[in-house]
């Protein structure tokens, strides 16, 4: 073994101070940890948003909760209270059997009890029907009379705690409808508050007759008074077949009669009389067009129909643009049921409905044509009731057992179709993309399409870029390639200060100052822009053709001194020419006064058919451009200035002009950097919120009309999140919007990065 050489001590001048080493190591780790933390944070945000939107895409969950036996009887229909605690079953004789489904076997269980309207002993009930949404029963008697009985459920809060639902009945007196003494076979009633009509089919000598009455309720000092009949209509002439169903919507302006052969006749009631509007056969295209069931969806403007073969469709009433009349049309188609529906219950919070026959029960959503839940039940269903809170489903089977199911479906409307599909909403003649998250009424159909918001985002970005890109890029090109360095020293910081302008200030200026000016003088603005552009071109051309001797009066880089006054002059000329042009070309007849007035604001809609708003994309593009220009300018300018001087010199020495050098050599070489600049500007424009919120009307449009506003994804979140109930459908939908925004920018950035790498590879300078 060779002897190990003795260890020489390291001379002190080679020793590294431990503090230096330690600090170096610490900083290494610190940076590593910091970088990781940022990545983790981004992922956590992503994950959080995902967590928020995930429940939107789950179906309904329905689980059995309880069963209660109810006394046997010949039941005709059922109804339930808001909490689905005290459902009732209507006996054939008109009595109501209420069954307590809470606390079964407990001390406060009320078992079942019977209530009935006071007239029940005097008359024989021939027909009864329950309206779930307005909670009234319609009774028709064998002697040709009717009564409307309100089922008043009230929650009480007993001293022992908890909640107990109590019920009382409020009935109208029995009134005659149509032919006295003739059996009432069917009834329909609509009450809009100011107008009430009731229709009845009566059996007269083996023939059906149709009668309607309008009702009036006098107000007295003691509240609503007695209901009296103030108009009678014999509508038998409209019966040209065997009537099967009659329906009156709550607006009390229509009467639908379905015949045994599958036709539906739509009568319009204008307050004075009925007139026929339309006859249609909902299942005309099916081999068996007969209608098995017909029920309103929440809001009474859509009718859920099934045919005997199980076809399931929705017909809605909307204004037909060609007829200019409200008619019924086929709007939704659902998968077939095994047979015509034998039970139906309407959702009272949304457009869901529970439908089925025999053992098959299906929970469907009217707006989206989606099946939220469907199952083959282990019993034959006689009636079903969808809990008014949309949290329970009650089934009564043919063996007098009530089955209660828990329903968990917090976002019944959510789904791909809602967010990205065309939907024909109630009252609309065509399927469209539309966003309208809140409406004035409980039965309002929410419109949650993200498409208008995506289009709005693209529109805002587009107009901002149309304005910002040429200015920012050309300014950067000019500043880096043509401007004298001593002036450049002022220009760049000034632009950077512009970038720090808070966007709320820009939005404020846009909304309150610029929008009115621009909308008052659109031709002037356009002409000024054209003027400046034309002046720039003209000046450039003329200057290039001037002899060098004259050009040399201005040192290279100071040409703008000559151009500036010409530009101002051109802008001014364009601006003052605006009214002249308006008088010459944009003359319309003022609809208010009938005079011929030159007004672009009125002219534009009449000629293009598009609307004109004061706060429009034009203004937003202009102001958002201001937010984007400094960013694009600064980064582009840096990229251009970083092009190695050797390229410039090489080009100039070959006899290229400064412009040729800039365009042929400098621009392509800096293209990767310029591209980044554009992308960062684009990102800013896509995500820009305050300017859009303030400077547009936030109308979710789906067009690229420069003279209407738009609603962007980000503005939508800002506007609606404060109003959105926590964890509700809207709340989660807004997060979905955020996700879409995130994905949009992510995709744009990724594509941009790939392209940028490619450009950088292509134009990278030799070392």
């Amino acid at each position: 073994m060779p002897p190990t050489p003795p260890k020489k001590p390291i001379p002190e001048r080679f020793v590294v101070a431990p503090a230096t080493l330690w600090f170096d190591r610490f900083m290494n780790h610190f940076i590593k940890v910091g970088g990781l933390a940022i990545i983790v944070a981004v992922f956590l945000i992503f994950f959080f948003i995902l967590l928020q939107i995930f429940p939107l895409f789950r179906g309904a969950r329905v689980e059995p909760a309880a069963t209660v036996s109810i006394p046997p009887g010949d039941y005709r229909t059922m109804g339930t209270d808001e909490w689905s605690e005290l459902p009732f079953f209507l006996e054939q004789d008109g009595t109501l059997r209420f069954v307590d489904t809470v606390d079964i076997g407990g001390p406060h269980h009320r078992g079942s009890f019977v209530k009935a309207p006071s007239f029940i002993d005097e008359v024989e009930i021939a027909y009864a029907r329950y309206n779930e949404y307005q909670a009234f029963l319609l009774y028709g008697t064998t002697d040709g009379r009717f009564s409307i009985v309100n089922v008043d459920y009230q929650p009480t809060f007993p001293a022992r705690g908890g909640r107990q639902v109590v019920v009382s009945l409020r009935e109208t007196p029995l009134l005659n409808v149509g032919r006295q003494g003739m059996t009432v076979e069917r009834l329909a009633y609509g009450d809009s508050g100011t107008r009430k009509i009731l229709a009845a089919i009566q059996r007269v000598n083996g023939r059906s007759e149709l009668h309607a009455v309008s009702l009036a309720q006098r107000r007295t000092l003691l509240g609503p008074g007695e209901l009296t009949v103030d108009g009678r209509y014999d509508l038998t002439e409209f019966l040209d077949g065997e009537p099967r169903h009659i329906m009156i919507p709550s607006d009390a302006d229509a009467l639908l009669i379905a015949f045994a052969d599958g036709r539906v006749r739509f009568l319009h009631f204008d307050g004075r009389g009925f007139s026929e509007r339309q006859v249609f056969t909902p299942f005309a295209d099916r081999p068996d067009p007969r209608i098995a069931s017909m029920n309103f969806l929440l809001g009474d403007v859509s009718v859920v129909m099934t045919a005997h073969d199980g076809a399931n469709r929705i017909y809605s009433i909307f204004r037909d643009p060609t007829l200019d009349m409200r008619i019924w049309g086929h709007t939704k188609t659902f998968p077939d049921l095994p047979a015509g529906a034998t039970f139906y219950s309407v959702g009272m919070r949304n457009k869901a409905f529970l439908i089925g026959s025999d053992r098959r029960a299906s929970l469907r959503y009217g707006t989206t044509e989606a099946i939220r839940w469907e199952d083959e039940l282990p019993f034959d269903v006689q009636f079903a009731a969808l809990g008014p809170r949309y949290n329970r489903i009650l089934f009564l089977d043919t063996d007098h057992t009530l089955h209660a199911y828990d329903l968990r479906d917090p976002h019944p409307q959510a789904g791909w179709k809602t967010y990205f599909g065309r939907i024909q909403y109630e009252g609309q003649a065509t399927a469209e993309f539309s966003w309208q998250s809140t409406g004035g009424r409980d039965d309002f159909e929410r419109k949650l399409s993200l498409v208008p918001l995506i289009i709005g985002t693209l529109k805002g970005t587009f107009y901002a870029m149309v304005f910002a890109l040429p200015i920012a890029l050309l300014a950067a090109l000019y500043t880096s390639q043509f401007l004298r360095p001593d002036i450049k020293r002022f220009v760049k910081p000034t632009m950077e200060i512009m970038a720090s302008l808070p966007s709320v200030v820009l939005g404020f200026l846009a909304a309150l100052w610029l929008a009115p000016i621009v909308s008052n003088a659109v031709p002037s603005v356009i002409l000024a822009v054209i003027g400046v552009t034309a002046a720039a071109y003209g000046f450039g051309y003329a200057w290039g053709n001037l002899p060098q001797r004259i050009r040399l009066c201005l040192k290279p880089g100071y040409e703008f001194l000559a151009f500036a006054p010409i530009m101002c002059l051109a802008a001014y000329a364009g601006w003052s020419l605006g009214p002249v042009v308006e008088r010459a070309f944009f003359v319309v007849t003022d609809p208010n006064t009938g005079l011929q007035v030159p007004d672009f604001r009125l002219w534009y809609p009449t000629v293009t058919g598009l609307s004109f708003e004061q706060r429009n994309a034009f203004v937003v593009g202009f102001v958002m451009g201001f937010a984007v220009i400094p960013i694009i300018f600064t980064i582009t300018e840096d990229a251009l200035s970083n092009v190695p001087d050797a390229f410039r010199s090489g080009s100039l020495a070959l006899g290229a002009s400064r412009w040729q050098t800039a365009i042929n050599i400098v621009l392509p070489t800096a293209s990767a950097g310029i591209f980044s600049a554009i992308m960062i500007g684009l990102g800013r424009a896509v995500g820009e919120t305050m300017i859009v919120v303030m400077a547009t009307g936030n109308t979710p449009v789906t067009d690229f009309n420069p003279f209407t506003g738009m609603r962007t994804l980000s503005a939508n979140i800002a506007v609606e999140l404060p109003e959105a109930p926590y964890l509700g459908t809207l709340y989660r939908t807004l997060f979905l919007g955020a996700m879409v925004l995130f994905l949009m920018t992510f995709m744009v950035n990724t594509a941009a990065e790939i392209l940028r790498q490619h450009l950088r590879e292509k134009y990278k300078a030799v070392e």
Binding site: D486, A646, L652, A653, L654, A656, N664, I665, K764
Partner: protein, 287 residues
Amino acid sequence: MMTMENETPTHAASLKDVQQRRPEVARQNAVAKDAFNPNHIEVKDYSFFYGPNQVLFDLNMAFPERHVTALIGPSGCGKSTLLRNINRMNDLIDGISHKGDVLIEGQSIYDPFLEVISLRKRIGMVFQKSNPFPKSIYENIVYSLRVAGRNRKSELDETVETSLKAAALWDEVKDRLQESAFSLSGGQMQRLCIARAIANRPEILLMDEPCSALDPIATGKIEDLIHDLKKDYTIIIVTHNMQQAARVSDKTAFLYMGQLIEYDDTEKIFMKPSEPQTEAYVSGRFG
């Protein structure tokens, strides 16, 4: 990047070199240049300032047509400045000023009626560091034609071929004209730059230390090239390499601190310079 022969002239060798090659050069000149304009480029009482700093002092000299003139002198003496003023590349710099005049065939380069661009088209320039554009070999060469609006394919193709042949690069790159110029080696790139500079067939070729970043083999090729080019072009070359100056040039000017110390036939400058400073510089006593 730098080879040893740059910056420090190796003098003993240079003198030997001159002695060996002079007769041959002289013979060539006698054959090819019986009729030439000895005052192709004239520099008259020329002073030049970067802002307040005077860099060139009252220069007076003339560059003969179709000859190679070398500018030598220590770093910072103003060789590049003089060169870059001939095609007015210094115009790009802020705060420059000049006195006196530079004439090309009797016409002042500062004539206000003379377009700088057309001046530069007359004068090709090769830089110290090769600077091909980030384009294909082909596009590099035809650049000067394209900016002049000459886009006819046949003309471009012809120009590429003749220029590359003149720059002795044709055989090496003729199959890869569409490849990026950056795929070439350092020496090839510099020859590409020379080909590019002569594509528009200028009259004058300015070369600012064209070989300083090249290895000896590449340098040798460029020097041969300069030899071939001088039958068509008036060449002014700045070099730090005494051997190179001796090998390629017909006349040599020695600048020192912005002043023209001595300007004469290369042979004379290297064999028996009249100024002691020249003597000291070419023999390596300072540099």
